[in-house]
């Protein structure tokens, strides 16, 4: 596994979009010319100082960045080990890290002259961020969302509609995130001439995994500076939850070449790894879906299996290709948390710190009880609090009420 390690973990992907054997461009011919256009448009934007300058204005005044790095004193005391900091992405406008990426992609879409934006969404956080930026820039917005997720994430559906987006409930397959992505791709193939597909995570055909990672890396860059200010040094460990893996990649990427920093990704173990779950690294193997090669949950015939997680945002049978590569290279350690562990962490953070986390982020919090107590008090641990839990309040409330009976 650890043979042929690269000089840098931060130099990927190659010009064909590969991270080792992962990534690539596995899409229908109809989309290929547009993917190549996008690759070029993004490279131009990246090289244009005016693009970054404009981004910075919106990141500061519209999104509200930088997001704080907060010392979670009571959580630290409670766990009795490492000193725990929370990267407060849940304080961003729209309530999660998703807006970092959407802002970037919408600005690329504007450079390309695209007037219609489509997106897939699981928990609705990416959909809300996309609807928000489309409202801000006067663009048509269509969001594909699995019908099951439309049910369990009603507050976000209402928000998207208030922002002027059209939410399309997807009835195919398991009616969750994977199927929403299928239907978004079908829309894109059909409306390729005027439509920009704003993918919400570090997956899909090249250049998406790279581009989304770049836009999310602001999380890790800020964390470096903020930890330097607070403690005068780098953190010792990083933890983030992973569905497709964009909040995790954003936090991890700027630290990949700092060997002293331990890095942990947390997949959703659902009912447990031997039952229904969404942990593609723990329970899957390499395959090709949604434009890239990566770890996927599938059967012996290569048919994709349905994922399960209490959290709609993690309920996906794949993972970003760069994570698959970092997993095989051994640079990042991937753990998993069950629905039950996430629910407990959801309540723990609410009670101890007065912060209601998204169920997605609660998966990362859940692993603190394993990781923090084992480490010394001067160990600096950063958890990415990728989203806030307002959207989950009705769902968690129902679950807890049902248990009281």
């Amino acid at each position: 596994m650890n043979q042929n390690l690269p000089n840098s973990f931060r130099s990927g992907p190659d010009e064909r979009g590969h991270f080792g054997i992962f990534g690539g461009r596995f899409v229908a011919e109809t989309l290929m010319p547009l993917i190549l256009d996008l690759e070029k448009a993004y490279a131009d934007a990246k090289a244009d100082p005016a693009f970054q300058a404009e981004m910075n204005v919106y990141l500061k005044d519209y999104v509200g960045r930088p997001s704080p790095l907060y010392f979670a004193e009571r959580l630290t005391e409670h766990l009795g080990g490492a000193k725990i900091y929370l990267k407060r992405e849940e304080l961003n406008h729209t309530g999660s890290h998703k807006v970092n990426n959407v802002l970037g992609q919408i600005m690329v879409a504007r450079r390309m002259g695209k007037k219609r934006i489509i997106a897939e969404t699981g928990a609705g956080q990416h959909g809300v961020a996309t609807a928000t930026l489309c409202a801000r820039f006067g663009l048509e917005c269509v969001v594909y969302m699995g019908a099951v997720d439309v049910e369990r994430q009603q507050p976000n559906v209402i928000r998207m509609e208030m922002l002027g987006a059209k939410v399309v409930p997807v009835q195919s397959g398991a009616r969750t995130l994977k199927d929403a992505m299928n239907d978004a791709l079908r829309d894109w193939v059909t409306n390729v001439h005027n439509t920009f597909y704003c993918i919400g995570t570090v997956a899909g055909p090249h250049p998406y995994p790279m581009m989304v990672r770049d836009f999310q890396s602001i999380i890790g860059h800020e964390t470096r500076n903020q930890m330097q200010e607070a403690e005068g040094r780098l953190p010792d460990s990083l933890i983030a939850c992973i569905g497709g893996g964009s909040n995790a990649m954003g936090l991890f990427h700027p630290f990949l070449d700092d060997p002293s920093v331990e890095i942990f990704g947390v997949e959703a173990a659902g009912h447990g790894l031997t039952q229904l779950h969404a942990a593609s690294l723990a329970g899957g193997r390499p395959g090709v879906l949604h434009g890239n090669r990566t770890y996927l949950l599938m059967d012996a015939d290569g048919q994709i299996e349905e994922a399960h997680s209490i959290s709609a945002g993690l309920d996906y049978p794949g993972i970003g290709p760069e994570h698959a590569w970092l997993h095989e290279a051994g640079r990042v350690k991937y753990l998993s948390a069950t629905d039950e562990e996430a629910l407990a962490a959801f309540q723990l953070l609410s009670r101890l710190e007065g912060i209601i986390p998204a169920l997605e982020s609660a998966h990362a919090i859940a692993k603190l009880s394993e990781l923090a107590p084992q480490r010394p008090k001067d160990h600096l641990m950063v958890v990415n609090l990728s989203g806030r839990g307002d959207k989950d309040v009705p769902q968690v409330g129902d679950i807890l009420k049902a248990r009281q009976k």
């Binding site: 461009r25 596995f26 011919e29 109809t30 791709l185 434009g291 015939d301 290569g302 048919q303 994709i304």
Partner: protein
């Protein structure tokens, strides 16, 4: 090397007519019925047969073909059984070209080398893999050509003159022109736009050009066949399968004959075309 595909198009050229290419989903609604449908197709007038390899996530397909794939998977279809079905078909028919159409993941999981060997041995002539553009040719296209199979590429309205040479470079057998930007079964092909596109592709290749997506009726089939070397019908056939199942989604005594009737009517349309494009 000459495949059954090359031989069939050469033969049709001599007869001065275009090919009628039919698409059916392997294992829809079950392996036995599906094999019976397959066997009925040449008699009903199919010149080339595309067999869909079912996949859970067919990103370029509309609701009809998505549902057909899921019916097949529910009935226990696998890639291995799809190859077995071709082997059975070949017992009685060694001339009709068979093209497998689908998505890459089941093949990747089967193992590229063993899949190609097994497909060739079963009597498969060509492959159409929707999610493998020329940028990923090293995955399957090059190995398939080496194994003696045709690799048939999709060209689309978004494939411009600059890109066409790359798309055609490793294409063999025929070129499949996707007449609409969109998913299967979504819209109706416009025969004038198609004629223009086929002429454009023919400036870049000597291969036959077949046109699919959006052909449902004998009339459209004829109009397309007048402007191309072949017309492909998929969704309309798959819809007839569905319409002739019982309430539980099982085959009925009418399933095979209803498909054969539609295919005969469509074949009449194609054969009624005035003059195939050169």
């Amino acid at each position: 090397m000459t495949t059954r595909i090359d031989a069939r198009f050469a033969e049709l050229k001599q007869q001065g007519r275009s090919a009628f290419v039919t698409f059916v989903m392997a294992g829809d609604p079950d392996a036995k019925t599906s094999l019976d449908i397959l066997k009925a197709l040449p008699k009903a007038g199919a010149d080339v047969i595309e067999i869909g390899m079912p996949f859970t996530d067919p990103m370029a397909d509309g609701p009809s073909i998505q549902a057909a794939g899921l019916r097949a998977l529910k009935g226990g279809m696998t890639l291995r059984k799809t190859l077995a079905m071709v082997r059975d078909f070949r017992k009685d028919d060694n001339a009709t070209p068979i093209v497998l159409m689908g998505y890459y993941n089941p093949i990747y999981i089967y193992g590229v080398e063993s899949f190609l060997a097994d497909a060739k041995a079963a009597g498969v002539d060509g492959l159409i893999i929707v999610d493998l553009p020329p940028e990923e040719d090293t995955e399957l296209c090059i190995p398939a050509l080496k194994a003696g199979l045709n690799f048939i590429r999709l060209a689309t309205p978004t494939t411009d003159d600059k890109r066409l040479p790359a798309v055609l470079a490793n294409t063999s057998g025929f070129v499949y022109y996707v007449s609409i930007t969109g998913i299967t079964g979504a819209a109706t092909a416009d025969s004038n736009a198609v004629a223009e596109a086929v002429a454009r592709i023919k400036r870049h290749t000597k291969l036959p050009v077949c046109v699919g997506f959006g052909i449902r009726t004998p009339e459209t089939a004829r109009a397309i066949a007048e402007n191309a070397n072949g017309a492909v019908v998929g969704t309309a056939i798959v819809d007839v399968v569905r319409a002739n199942l019982d309430a539980e989604g099982r085959a009925t005594p009418k399933t095979v004959s209803a498909v054969a009737d539609l295919v005969s009517a469509l074949a009449q349309g194609v054969r009624g075309a005035k003059q195939a494009a050169e």
